[in-house]
Symmetry: C2
Subunit: 335 residues, 2 copies
C-alpha cells in the first residue's frame, strides 16, 4: 500500500485496512463506531464548530494542512471562550495520493492535537478520482465546553474598550504564498499556526473584562475588525505604528502587492478588552509564548446609529484610512 486507491473509499476491506493500520493508530482510536460518545459533567454550555481545509500547497513553511486543520478548529472554539475537548476529522483523499504524504499529515494532526490537549474522537474517509481534489482536503469539527461564569460576546463591547492582538500579523498567509510561488523571504516567514486554547485559558482569568475574541484567519485582521464593528455597532480605530508586523511579512507584502491587514493568520487572536484591564490582559498574554508579541493596537469608539460603523487606521504619516472587508480574492486557498 503506497498510494491511495479509489477502493480505499469504498467502505470495504481496503478502507478498513487503511483506517486500522494508518488512521486509527495516529489518534489512538480503538472504537470503530461511526460516532463517538462523550460524557459531560454538568450543565455547561457547548461551543460547536466546523471548518474545511483546502490549503494549497499541502505543505508550507512551518506546517502543513494537518496541524492547520487541528489548530484552526481549536481556535474557533477557544475564541468563543470555550475549552476545546474533542474533534472529528473528515478526510477527502485524491486517488493516487502517496500514503507517505497521508501519514505525514496525520502525524502532524496527531501531534497538534496532543500539544493542544484535545482528542480526535471520530472520523470519516472518502476517496475521489484522480483530478477531483488537490491531494487532500480535511474537515475538522470540534466541541468545547464554556464554563458557566463566562459570558463574552459582541453585546458587551463598549466605547473605550481596547483592541489587542495577541501576536504578529500576516505570517500564515505569506508562508503559504511564498511556498506556492517558490519564493524565499529574508528573514524567512513561517506559519503562525498554533492552538490558541493554551493562551485563552490563561487570559480568561479576566473573563469579566474580555468583551470578545476572534481569530483573524481568512480576510485578515482588517476583515475581523470590520466584522466586530458591524456586529457591535461601534466604530473602531487602530494605529498603524502599533501593528506588530514581522520584517519578512512587510517585505513580502511589498513584493507581492499585498496588504498585511488582509493576510490570514492562524495563531493569533484579536481581543476586545475593557480599558481598565487592558494592560493586565496584555501582560498575561506576553507571559505566554503564544502571546509574547501581543500589542494594544487600537480602541473601540462611540456607538453609531445613523450610518454603518467604520474601522479607521491612523497611518504612520498622520492620515486616516478607512478599512473595509477584503473584496474579491487577495489570497485564495490559504486555509
Amino acid at each position: 500500500m503506497d498510494k491511495i486507491l479509489l477502493g480505499h473509499g469504498s467502505g470495504g476491506i481496503l478502507m478498513h485496512r487503511l483506517i486500522e493500520e494508518i488512521v486509527a493508530p495516529m489518534f489512538n482510536l480503538t472504537d470503530f463506531n461511526d460516532s463517538a460518545i462523550i460524557g459531560l459533567n454538568s450543565n455547561e454550555r457547548l461551543a460547536y464548530t466546523t471548518d474545511s481545509y483546502v490549503v494549497s500547497p499541502l505543505f508550507f513553511p512551518g506546517g502543513n494542512i494537518g496541524d492547520l486543520a487541528i489548530n484552526g478548529t481549536i481556535n474557533d472554539l477557544a475564541v468563543m471562550g470555550a475549552e476545546p475537548i474533542c474533534l472529528t476529522v473528515g478526510l477527502i483523499l485524491e486517488e493516487g495520493l502517496p500514503i507517505e504524504t497521508l501519514k505525514t499529515v496525520l502525524q502532524s494532526m496527531s501531534e497538534a492535537a496532543r500539544v493542544a490537549g484535545v482528542k480526535v474522537v471520530a472520523g470519516d474517509t472518502k476517496v475521489v478520482d484522480k483530478g477531483k481534489c488537490d491531494g487532500m482536503y480535511i474537515n475538522t469539527s470540534g466541541i468545547g465546553v464554556i464554563k458557566d461564569a463566562i459570558d463574552i460576546g459582541v453585546h458587551k463591547i463598549e466605547s473605550g474598550d481596547k483592541v489587542i492582538t495577541s501576536g504578529m500579523i500576516g505570517n500564515h498567509g505569506i508562508a503559504v504564498m511564498s511556498k506556492r510561488h517558490g519564493l524565499v523571504f529574508e528573514p524567512p516567514v513561517e506559519t503562525d499556526s498554533a492552538p490558541l486554547n493554551l493562551l485563552t485559558r490563561e487570559i480568561l482569568s479576566y473573563h469579566a473584562h474580555i468583551k470578545m475574541m476572534r481569530d483573524p484567519t481568512r480576510g485578515g485582521i482588517a476583515t475581523t475588525l470590520k466584522e466586530i464593528a458591524l456586529q457591535s455597532g461601534h466604530d473602531i480605530e487602530i494605529d498603524e505604528e502599533r501593528l506588530p508586523i514581522p520584517q519578512g511579512v512587510v517585505g513580502a507584502c511589498e513584493l507581492l502587492g499585498l496588504d498585511p491587514l488582509y493576510v490570514a493568520n492562524e495563531g493569533i487572536l484579536v481581543a476586545i478588552v475593557s480599558d481598565v484591564k487592558a494592560e493586565d490582559v496584555l501582560s498575561k498574554m506576553r507571559a505566554n509564548p503564544l502571546g509574547k508579541d501581543a500589542q494594544i493596537i487600537g480602541e473601540v469608539k462611540g456607538k453609531v446609529v445613523e450610518r454603518k460603523p467604520k474601522v479607521v487606521l491612523n497611518t504612520l504619516i498622520g492620515g486616516k484610512r478607512i478599512i473595509d472587508m477584503l473584496t474579491g480574492e487577495q489570497l485564495t486557498r490559504i486555509c
Copy 2:
C-alpha cells in the same frame, strides 16, 4: 452572482454576501460566529459524528448530495441510540459552480433538516479552483443526546439474537449508479435516503432488547454484518429468501454485475434484537413508514474463539455462502 468565484472563499465581502444572502437564510442562521453555543439540560451523554459526502453525480433519482449529507449524519447518530440535535455543514465548492445548483442543494439540506427535526447550527464555506473538486463536496458533523437509560452496543450481543433490516436493500447505490451510467430501470430505483431518527426513537421503547443498530451504507449490508460479527465475536447467519430486495434492484444488479448485499443504503438500519422481543420490534418498525418493509433476515449464532467470526448466507437453493467485506471498489463515490 450566478457562478461561484474563487473570491467567494476568500473570507471577504464576496463570502459574506454568499453566506448572508444564500446560505444563512436556508438554515435560519442569524448568528455569524464561527461556533454555535449549545445548552444542555442534564448529564446525558453525547454522540458525535462526522461524514464527508463526495457522491457523483450530485443529483440522482430521489435525492441529491444535500439531503444525503443531512440524513447520513443524522443516521450515524440515530443508530447509536442518540436523538440528533444539531449539525454543522462544511461546503467545499468548485469555482464556476452555478449558484442555482448550490441553492437547490442547500434547499434540500434545509428541508431534510426540517423533516428530521434537527438544526444546522454552524457552517463553513471554502472554494477551490476549477478542476480541483467535482462541483461540490459537503461535510456534515452532528451531535445527538443519548438518554441515560439507553445502553446499546456490540457487547450486548448474544447467541439467538435476531437480525432485522428496517427496509428494502440496495436502493441508494443503484439509484446513483443508474444516474451515473444513464440507465433507467423498471420499476425505477430511487435512493432510500431518509432520517432514521424518526424510526429509532420509536423502536427505542424496546431499548433493553435492542443490542445494537448500524446503518449499512458504503459496503452494504454484507460489510455491516461482517463488522458486527468481528466486533461481537459471534457468527451470524442470514437467509437469502428473507432478504427484502426490490425488483428494480435485482434487475439492475444482474445487468451491472453487482451483488445487492454490497450495495449502499441510506435509509435503512440493521438491528440486532433479543429473540424474545424481535417480533415486537418488527411490528413497531412496520407501523412506521420508514420501517414498513422491515424483515427478520437472520440470527446471531454462537460465540467463536478459535477462528474469526463468519457471516453465512443460506442461499435460495439450499447452499451456504460465506459473506465477507467488500473487497476493492464495487461502487465508488456513492455517498
